[in-house]
Each structure stands twice: as C-alpha cells, then as structure tokens.
C-alpha cells in the first residue's frame, strides 16, 4: 500500500520528467542527420557493450561550440535577459501602487479587489495577449484614441516592436506581482506608521523608511515570479513582437519546428536551464527566509 503510494507518482515523474530531460541532454550532444529521428547516434542495445561504447564515443560538444560561434544565439540569450529585467521592473512600477492601494482600501472592499486581481489570472493567457493585437496595431484602438485626442498626428507603430512585448508581459504577469506585495503590505502593522509620524517623520519619509523595507519580501517574490517565466516566454514575443524581437523561447521553437535542427534546439534548451538555475535558487532562498521570519 505504502509502496504504491510513493511508487506511482515517483515512477510517473521519473518516466515523464527525468527521462525526457536525459534525452534532451543526450540529443544536445548528438549530430544532426537526414533520418527519422533526425539525429545520430541512436542507442542500439542489441550490439551489447560495444554498441554502448560506440554510442558514448560519438557524443560531443559540437552543438554548444556552434551556439557560441553564431551570434544569433548569444544575442538571443542577452536580449531575453534584458527584456525580462526591464519587463520585471515595469511590472513592479505598475503593480506596487495597485497593491499598496488595495492594502489601504477599507477592509470590506478587499475581498472584491482581490477577486478582481485573481480573475484575469484564470482567464486564458492566449486571449489576454491576443486582446492587445487589436489595441496596438496601426489602426488599433490606442492609435484611434490618440489621434482623436490630438496628442499625435500620425499613428504610432507599437505592434511588432519590443514595446508591445513589454506591454504584453506587464499585462499578463501583473497579478503575480500584485498578490505577493499585497500579502506583505496587508499584514503590516499600521501603528508603525503612526508612531513614525508622531516622531516627526513626514508621510513620504515614513513610506520609504517603514513601508518599503517591510514590503521587501513580497517585492522580491513578485519580481522572481515575473522574471523566471518571462525568460523562456514564447507566446508574447511571437504574437506581439516583431522580426527583430529576439527571445530564446522563440529561437528554440523556430530551431525545432522550422529548421528541424533537434540537436541545436536541445543545446539551446540546456543552456536556458543553466541560466535559469541562478534566479530559481535565489527565489527558493528568499521564500525560505520569509518562511523562517514568519515563524
């Protein structure tokens, strides 16, 4: 009974998570071939020990060398990092005031406000990104509105640029930023602010000296929750970005589906994972510290 309880989910994850991962690693060390499947060597166990030795001797780091020699790839990694960092900062700048306002709203409003933040999160991601195509296109609603108000005299080109990608990321990941910040601000003791003001702090000083440091764990958590998925994002750059928007998720997709170069696609995936390990470890540590601080 107990063995079954541990065994079933364990074996499931082993076969459908760890083994596939091993296959990606292996193919990233293989060569491309005009065959089905389009890579070589494939492991042939019927030849016994010699087959296994031959298999390992034919693996090499050629694809990784290729990634460093073609500037498309390292530019894509750098530009993904840059887009993820800027988008995370923008999301923080939009999300913090909203979370702050929610925490200061009358208590009976808060469940409804919370609901309004969570609702878009349950709505299809794809549809929320799609909604912006109609808004940002040359004859879209934003341009119509700006032309009507007379702020601009010629339509702006926003769709298919990096700006559109930033807007898309801020829009879809905003709930991930608001929720953890709101959670820390809501727990904050209001008497601390009163004490600070009694002691002669201005409101602004009290905000920077008390609210911001106390909100830090929520801010850090929110930033990681936006940064980590954004780095490998595919849908937003491919729908809102242009041909010069380089993001690694898109490069991997194109390498696999359009160029059918599986070994290079696998190597791209492995490097992306290695890059992601740093923020993931930092995020885990932040969560651990928060948990200990609560106890």
């Amino acid at each position: 009974m107990r063995r079954l309880l541990v065994g079933v989910p364990f074996v499931w994850l082993l076969v459908l998570f760890l083994v596939p991962f091993g296959i990606v690693l292996k193919i990233s060390l293989s060569d491309i071939a005009l065959a089905i499947p389009p890579y070589t060597p494939t492991l042939d166990l019927t030849e016994g020990w010699a087959g296994i030795r031959d298999f390992f001797s034919r693996l090499d780091f050629e694809n990784y060398v290729f990634l460093t020699s073609d500037d498309l790839y390292w530019k894509a990694y750098l530009s993904s990092l840059q887009i993820a960092v800027i988008a995370t900062i923008c999301t923080l700048l939009v999300g913090f005031p909203v979370a702050y306002g929610m925490a200061r709203a009358p208590e009976e409003w808060r469940p409804a406000l919370l609901m309004l933040v969570i609702l878009p999160f349950w709505t299809s991601f794809l549809i929320r990104v799609y909604a912006w195509i109609g808004i940002l296109s040359t004859e879209g609603f934003l341009n119509q509105f700006l032309l009507w108000t007379g702020i601009i005299s010629e339509p702006l080109t926003i769709l298919n640029t990096n700006t559109a990608v930033y807007i898309g990321i801020v829009y879809t990941y905003l709930p991930f930023m608001i929720l953890p910040i709101y959670a820390t601000l809501e727990r904050m003791d209001a008497s601390l602010l009163e004490a600070a003001e009694d002691l002669g702090c201005s409101r602004m000083q009290a905000f920077w000296l008390i609210t911001v440091p106390l909100a830090r764990p929520g801010v850090v958590a929110g930033c990681f929750l936006v940064f980590i998925p954004t780095l490998g994002e595919f849908v937003i750059p491919s729908l809102l970005g242009g041909s010069d928007t380089l993001m690694i998720g898109k490069v991997l997709w194109e390498e696999f589906f359009n160029n059918r170069d599986w070994p290079v696609a696998s190597a791209v995936a492995i490097i992306l994972l290695l890059i992601l390990i740093v923020p993931i470890v930092l995020f885990q540590r932040n969560q651990q510290i928060n948990k200990e601080a609560e106890q």
Binding site: L16, V98, G101, M102, A105, F141, W253
Partner: protein, 269 residues
C-alpha cells in the same frame, strides 16, 4: 491602514482599468457587425453563428475539453498522492529526488517541457495525439495540484489520523474517512487549477499534439498569427464569460462554507 489618499484611488482606478479595458474591448467588438475589427459597424451576433458553424473549431474545443478532463483528473489523483507522501510519510529512499521532481516542472519553461516530452514520445515510438497531450498535461499539472494539496495537509493536525488508526481504521479508511474530507476543498481547487492550466496551454500541446489532434489554443494561435478576427473575439467572449461565472460561483460557494463552519464552531463552543 484604511486611509485612502487620492494617489491610492488613482492608482487603483488606473490599475484595474489597465487589467480590464482590453478584455472589455474584446467583448464589445465581438458583437460588431463589421468585418473590420477596429471599426464599429452596428450590433450583431453573426460571429457567434459563424463560430458555431465552424466545425474545425468545434472539434478542437471537444478535444480540448477531453484532454482537460482526463489530465486534470489524473493529475489530481497523482498530485494528492504525492502531497500525502511528502507531508505525511517522513523519510524514504529518494525523497530529495522526488520533491525536486515535484517542484522543478513549476519553474521549467514550457518550451523545454514540451520539447523534452516530444523527444521522449518519439524515442519510444508513441504516436502523437490525444493520449500524448493528456500524458504531458498530467505531468506538469500534478505538480501544481501537489503544491495546493500539501499546503492544506501541512496546516491540519495529523493526530486526527492517528486517532482513527488507534480506533481500528485501516490506513486507507483513515485517509478516506478523516483526511480526505478535510483536504477536499484543496483537492477540488487543485482539480480546477489543473483543468484551467490544461485548457490554456498552447506551447506544450503544440509540441505533443500530432496532426490527428488539435486543441483550441493551437487553433486560436494559428488563426491569430494572421491578425485579429471577429470570430476569435466571439470565442474569447465565450471563454471569458465561462471563466467569470466559474470563478464567481466557486468563491461564493467557498464563502458560504466558511461562514457555515464559523457558525457551527460558534455553536459548538
């Protein structure tokens, strides 16, 4: 901290306007008679009619529902088992690896999960179709279910289970009669989460679906790539309506349960 300043009110208004106006525009323009999606040409429901006559779209919706139902149910069973093992069953051989494999898919980029599963299915010669999408979706959503369920398991006292065992219940009976009713709300929200994740997924489904099975997000993505279409606006409106009704119902039901429990506790005390 209930001192709303003008700044707070402005930031709340702008923030929620930003979150809701794009969806509102989609909904309004799904009733647009004009083929031009950004020009208002009068009220019409014709795009809903077109949508219902679009057989490829209906087929895709059906495949998506099937995949979501089976994968979320499987994921709920597996995820609950995993959560129970991790929270209640102390140490066992391979525990670190196990908990690592539960948390890793949560932060894994979708393109990598999709790529690795596709390479597995090809390596073992499994034909791509509904089955492979179900397997893929189950794998990542069971991890979400397990996180939701284990947070509930951690917060309740295991002495209740021990009492049941002392009183002669078998471990399975103790789970069914004591643990399961207590964690039921978490199991249900885990199932709902898994269901929505599966409905929503484009990237993993694109890698693991074969030509024989197309899901709704794959269909939407390929038509959206060509630009905005009023039919997709109609479809989006239907999806937004279903999600809104679902989430509101779920929150009202859970609120009632909480008030009832509080009242019962007040009476008992």
């Amino acid at each position: 901290m209930t001192r709303l300043t003008t700044f707070n009110i402005v930031s709340l208004t702008l923030g929620f306007a930003f979150l809701y106006i794009p969806m509102l525009i989609l909904v309004i323009y799904s009733f647009n008679a004009s083929q031009l999606v950004t020009v208002w040409g009068g009220f019409s429901t014709k795009w809903y009619g077109e949508l219902l006559r679009n057989e490829a779209m209906i087929d895709a919706a059906w495949v998506t529902m099937k995949v979501a139902f089976f994968s979320s149910t499987l994921a709920t069973v597996l995820g609950t088992m995993a959560a129970y093992v991790l929270v209640r069953r102390g140490r066992f051989y391979g525990r670190t690896l196990f908990s690592g494999m539960i948390y890793a898919p949560l932060v894994m980029p979708e393109v990598i999960t999709g790529l690795s599963l596709l390479l597995l299915f090809i390596a073992i010669g499994l034909d791509r179709g509904v089955l492979t999408i179900v397997l893929a979706h189950t794998t990542f959503s069971m991890c979400y279910v397990s996180v939701v369920v284990s947070s509930r398991l951690v917060s309740f006292d295991d002495s209740l289970e021990e009492a049941a065992l002392d009183l002669g219940a078998s471990p399975f009976e103790a789970f069914r009669l004591v643990t399961l009713p207590i964690i039921a709300p978490a199991v249900i929200s885990g199932w709902l989460l898994a269901f929505t994740l599966s409905l929503d997924d484009l990237v993993i489904a694109s890698f693991t679906a074969g030509p024989s099975a197309t899901t709704l997000p794959i269909k939407i993505f390929s038509s959206v790539r060509l630009g905005v279409s009023p039919e997709i606006n109609a479809l989006s409106t239907i999806i937004i309506a279903i999600v809104t009704v679902g989430v509101l119902t779920a929150s009202i039901v859970s609120k009632r349960q909480i008030t009832r429990r509080l009242r019962e506790e007040a009476q008992a005390g």
